[in-house]
Amino acid sequence: MLQEDVLEKQASAPAGAALHLANAEVVTAETTFRGRVRVEDGVIVAVEEGGGVPAGAIDCGGELLLPGLVDLHTDHCERHAVPRPGVHWDPLQAAIAHDAQVASAGITTVFDSLVVGLRDADQTRRDLLGSIMAAVEKGEELGLFRSQHLLHLRCEVTDPTLLDQIGPHMDHPLLQLVSVMEHTVGQRQFPDAEKYKEVLVKLFDVPEDQVEARFKRDAEASRTFAPTFREAVTRMAQQRGIPVAAHDDETLEHVEEAARLGMTISEFPTTLLAAEAARERGMVTIMGAPNVVKGGSQSGNVSAIDLVRAGLLDVLASDYVPISMLAATLRLAEDDIGLTLSQAVNLSSRNAAKAGGLDDRGEIAVGKRADLLRVRMVEDHPVVRTVYTAGKRVA
């Protein structure tokens, strides 16, 4: 079948047969109750309390009904494109596999996060950026995805070629989030030089005798052009109405700089101090869901749960494990942490949608897009079996 056939079929498919889900534990932005949700043309048209199952409605058997999750940061698309070191997979097939993984994890809107400015990568790795972006656009155009995909470009300001690399991509129609990263030793994610050295050698295969030279090179970048790049990237995004996130903020100065430049999001702050400073300046704080599930940060920085306890966490993102998002959300609603289920779910849906500039979704409420999940609990494990995007079952 050719592309045209697929497009034609989509055009001719019924615009959104009615969907009625009943006898569910409906989780709205405020509360949880036994009730029903009715959908027409992909939009929620009624949310009602009560245990009955009207004729024609689907009986959810008391399962949880949650809003589809909104994930502002997942690195998983890149992983499918390079399934093994040196093995490059067809980018469209990789995007489709990634899509299925996030959809089955309950994520109905995903910001595919792609790194720009891999200073030490070869040309093949660099070319991957454009080909993944094109594949995501194509998949969206042809309706091949289960979830909705947008793009998040992660810009590394210690790469001298960053601006040349990002320039051609800034007007991509799916670009909806930009973050600014600076990976140098002695600050942010890696205050501890020994730990950073270990990561470089073990994870990135940097030869041990070259680590010092690299530290020196990056520190110099940080002193010279990085601040200019940070400002330039932020301005490019702002001119296009794209939200900008600061990455791995550690100190008051980091947050002040980000706020001064007009960044509205602080992604993965590494200290309580930075998260407090972000809150004071009205910035939204994002932490990784794996951090919640694992009970702490892999690099020994402030934990997401500590931020929740301090009332400082606004948004969860799946980071490197798609299934972690729902698990982390439910974890935060357990007694020892004490968020209500609605408060916890808001971190992964409503707040995330808002921070990403999407106001048509993120909660179970009349008028919102019918992105919905049925979740069965098996002991403390959430099992997602049925996922709807815009009222259509996709997984």
Binding site: M1, V6, A100, S104, A105, P290, V321, H381
Partner: protein, 385 residues
């Protein structure tokens, strides 16, 4: 949409890929099984319109290493086993796989020294998730036994009677033959992966080489006997020479997975063994390590089964690739390498084809530019994706 309890489900306006032909028509499902296949449309109210898409048998994957990737999502990070098996399961189902043989390594390798610790919890997780109906696909454990590990027989005994186990294979990752014919390359990998000095790597290699004389043959004999006793399908891994095949056949091994030379594949075929090759190899057009390619075996008529190996979605892609002009198989013949043949290889008589009486494990698949795209997956007639 019919509910899960409906007596009959009807998939109509489909291009149905049967064992030997493609039929435009309707499939009737009853009680989780395929009831009937008819050409032409259906007047049954509530029939689901496949809009001309393919309806294919659910895929059967004899070898996927993907479960372990979810258990170890990053170096140093170990994930909850049940959560990991669910994530792995979703990926397999999305790739069209309705029966998956999840590889669990018994014995250590140079890449993953932690395997001795995680293999038992991985198997427990598969069994628990199956028992609690937490998974989309059917899951069976494939034990990959590393015969150079002096503890491998004890480790195998500890899990062999586990209800989840249905297949085993024998691997020998010593340098100088099979996957690592080049000792120097093996030395480099060993130093890098295990962070060993040159002297330490050499000691490691000497130990592995010393296993070849007595330990490896002994382990192979003992493990194969144990597998046969339990009725498991047994595969020999990375066979390189006709001698490897003779040796495997003598042990009653019926399958060779990922043979590295045409000679080994031909010898296996001639002695009635079934051949498994990696689907990524076919999709990428060659082996990662420079050995004989799946395409060459297909051209020689020696390719019985494909397995997804390290890319779950590769299985269906590879089948469609085999049906493209460059390989020239019919779509039914190509699909057999990922459904009917693996069912036979693993001894599963209740699935693998679209035929009345078999399990209603089915896929709805559209194609875009010749590439397959899984829209819907049913297992036992129940929609799971």
């Amino acid at each position: 949409m019919p509910s899960q309890t409906a007596a009959e489900q009807v998939l109509t306006n489909a291009r149905i890929v049967l064992a030997d032909e493609v039929v435009e028509g309707t499939v009737y499902l009853r009680d989780g099984k395929i009831a009937e296949i008819a050409s032409g449309g259906s007047a049954v109210p509530g029939a689901e319109d496949m809009e001309g898409d393919y309806v294919l048998p659910g895929l059967i994957d004899l070898h996927t290493d993907h479960f372990e990737k979810h258990v170890l999502p990053r170096p140093g990070t170990r994930w909850n086993m049940l959560a990991a098996v669910m994530a792995h399961d979703a990926q397999m189902a999305a790739g069209g796989v309705t029966t998956t043989f999840d590889c669990v390594c018994v014995g250590v390798s140079i890449k993953h020294p932690e395997r001795r610790e995680i293999f038992r919890p991985m198997i427990d997780a598969v069994r628990e998730a199956v028992a609690k109906d937490m998974l989309r696909a059917d899951h069976i454990v494939h034990l990959r036994c590393e015969v150079t590990d002096e503890m491998v027989v004890d480790l195998f005994d500890a899990v062999a009677d586990h209800a989840a186990v249905g297949m085993m294979s024998l691997m020998d990752h010593a340098p100088g033959h099979r996957q690592y014919p080049d000792v120097q390359r093996f030395r480099e990998r060993t130093m890098k992966n295990l962070k060993l000095s040159e002297a330490e790597a050499d000691a490691h290699i000497d130990r592995l080489l010393s296993t070849q004389e007595y330990l490896v043959p002994k382990n192979r004999i003992e493990l194969a006997a144990r597998g046969k006793q339990r009725g498991l399908a047994i595969a020999s891994h990375d066979d390189e020479t006709a001698d490897h095949i003779v040796d495997a056949a003598a042990l009653g091994i019926t399958v060779t997975e990922f043979p590295t030379t045409l000679a080994a594949a031909r010898a296996a075929h001639d002695s009635g063994m079934k051949i498994i090759m990696g689907a990524p190899n076919l999709v990428r057009g060659g082996s990662h390590s420079g050995n004989v390619s799946a395409a060459e075996l297909a051209a020689a008529g020696l390719l019985d089964n494909l397995a997804s190996d390290y890319v779950p979605a590769s299985l269906l892609q590879a089948a469609f690739r085999l049906a493209a002009p460059e390989h020239g198989l019919s779509l039914p013949a190509a699909m057999a390498t990922v459904s009917a043949n693996p069912a036979e290889t693993a001894g599963l008589g209740d699935r693998g084809r679209i035929a009345s009486g078999l399990k209603a494990d089915l896929l709805r698949v559209a194609t875009v530019e010749g590439q397959p795209f899984v829209k819907t997956v049913w297992r036992d007639a129940k929609r799971v994706m």
